[in-house]
């Protein structure tokens, strides 16, 4: 049993807003749903599967009612920023099993307008919450140990931001459009050692949506065909504190599962959407996915190797979370959207990868330095 080739991404939409104090969160979900359906050439009446995560107000059933959907399959898997990458895989499973034929996945929210509600505490609460783990310092702890074990430098991490900024200059919706240098990143204020301000992603309001459907329905629509050929998901945490190693993520498991299902290797990938909550997130995930050896990430990302048209692995050609958009502090959705744009040939001409037939969209959710999930989607232009 495999989902390889059994589901197509027929609709994508990224909300152009980066600041939406004048809209409700549910409204943003509806707007991105409408956008993705219009992109696919479908209507809300066609949707028979709905997927959402913790950002959907009230969860799945209030959203299904608010949107006026009539569905026969529901999935509200919540794994932070990679929820939507997992939803793509789960939608493919549901479609392959005949449980639904047109799945809608939405993400939206407004962290730039106001603070987000805290996430529910786990069994670890009494033993961790007082220590103030945040995204910044949890990823800082990973970067600190990666530098210790492998000699990774701040300059190497800075190259990831530099590459994202080169791409963002062509995105009219990007929050930060200015091209920056390694020196700019190094000279930005230290937020949580060793991460500088420019090692961190933007905080934006907004959202995005996807339509996943059957091969038959996708082929009846007008958009270039993009299908899912491999998917993986995994989780990692301190697990009782044994053999703690913060230099790798759950991508070491989700990545190989996805590549095996797809029957390809990292060398075959023409374009990579890699979750970039922080520069270190990208570096560790590139290693974990097998684009380079563990510990060689610093050398791999340096000297513009991630810049489209310059380096060997064009990444996040929309400017990513580091420069363009990080709606609801959850980067998985926009990773899928830009990968589909690349495979369709709809990316900005300045960053479009030539003959882009295989792409990866990968992300993590939760805190890399504490406990997190990872999900990998391998997509193919048909």
């Amino acid at each position: 049993m495999t989902i390889k080739g059994k589901a197509y991404i027929a609709g994508i939409y990224e909300h152009p807003t980066r600041h939406a104090p004048d809209k409700s969160t549910a409204q943003l979900h509806a707007e991105v749903a409408k956008g993705a359906l219009e992109d696919a050439g479908l209507s809300a009446k066609d949707v028979d599967g709905y997927f959402c995560a913790g950002d959907a107000p009230g969860g799945a059933w209030p959203m299904v009612d608010y949107l006026g959907l009539k569905v026969r399959h529901i999935d509200s898997t919540e794994t932070g920023g990679c929820s939507y990458l997992i939803h793509v895989g789960h939608a493919a499973e549901a479609i392959a099993a005949g449980k639904c034929s047109i799945a809608l996945i939405t993400l939206a929210g407004k962290p730039r307008t106001g603070p987000m509600p805290p996430r529910a505490a786990g069994a670890e609460a009494d033993f961790e919450m007082a220590y103030g783990a945040t995204t910044h310092n949890a990823y800082g702890m990973c970067a600190m140990r990666h530098m210790h074990d492998y000699g990774t430098t701040s300059e190497q991490l800075a190259w990831i931001k530099v590459a994202a900024s080169h791409h963002a200059q062509y995105n009219p919706h990007a929050m930060l459009k200015e091209v920056v240098t390694v020196e700019d990143v190094m000279n930005s204020p230290m937020i949580s050692d060793p991460l500088h301000r420019m090692d961190c992603c933007v905080v934006t309001d907004g959202g995005g949506a996807l339509i996943v459907t059957t091969p038959e329905i996708a082929k009846s629509l007008k958009k270039p065909l993009v299908r899912l050929i491999g998917h993986g998901e995994a989780m990692k945490g301190p697990r009782g504190g044994k053999d703690l190693d913060l230099t790798y993520s759950a991508g070491v498991w989700s990545g190989p599962r996805a590549f095996e299902e797809a029957g390809i290797t990292p060398k075959d990938i023409k374009y990579a959407s890699i979750y970039d909550s922080f520069t270190i997130t990208v570096l560790m995930q590139l290693e974990d996915l097998g684009f380079c050896k563990k510990g060689d990430g610093g050398k791999f990302v340096a000297d513009g190797n991630l810049i489209s048209g310059v380096g060997k692995l064009p990444f996040n050609t929309d400017g990513g979370g580091l420069c363009s958009n990080h709606p609801v502090n959850r980067g998985g959705m926009t990773k899928v959207i830009e990968a589909v744009r690349q495979l369709r040939g709809e990316a900005h001409p300045k960053v479009q990868v030539q003959n882009c037939d295989l792409a990866i969209a990968h992300g993590t959710g939760g805190l890399l330095g504490v406990r997190h999930a990872a999900s990998t989607c391998i997509l193919e232009r048909v």
Binding site: G132, H136, A138, G140, P189, I191
Partner: protein, 129 residues
């Protein structure tokens, strides 16, 4: 850590009450599984390694070394140092490093447990030896 920051009192529950009762006496407990022999932290009734229910409390020496850390520079309550300590007994755990010069912290540095009061049971932190 800023002196102004008020520490939250642990909520505690039947599974972890013994840990917090011991903390009130200045003792730092970990759990060990008598089936597989592994120690773990934070404490569970079922071993996370072999799923045996034969876990027992054990007093830790409260000594270990810094696995990693990060100094949070942008915080409304002032800078603090978060990190992981690997205990002599094996398990690694999340903590804050306190009563020290944050800029002198380094990976591998020896640290020991120190309890800080809350409105309930005291909380364990670590400080350089």
């Amino acid at each position: 850590m800023s002196e102004a920051k008020k520490l939250p009192a642990p909520v505690t529950n039947p599974e972890t009450k013994a840990f917090w009762d011991a903390a009130a006496e200045g003792k730092f407990l970990i759990k060990r599984c008598t089936a597989c022999g592994e120690a773990h932290y934070f404490p569970r009734s079922i071993c996370p390694f072999c799923f045996s229910d034969q876990t027992v409390w054990e007093q830790s020496a409260g000594e270990g070394e810094i696995y990693t850390f990060s100094i949070m520079r942008k915080s409304p309550t002032g800078p603090y140092a978060i990190g992981y300590v690997t205990l002599k007994e094996g398990p690694s755990l999340q903590t804050n490093f306190v009563d020290c010069d944050f800029d002198a912290l380094r990976i591998g540095q020896k640290v020991r447990v120190v309890f800080k009061p809350t409105d309930g049971a005291p909380l364990p932190f670590f400080t350089p030896v």
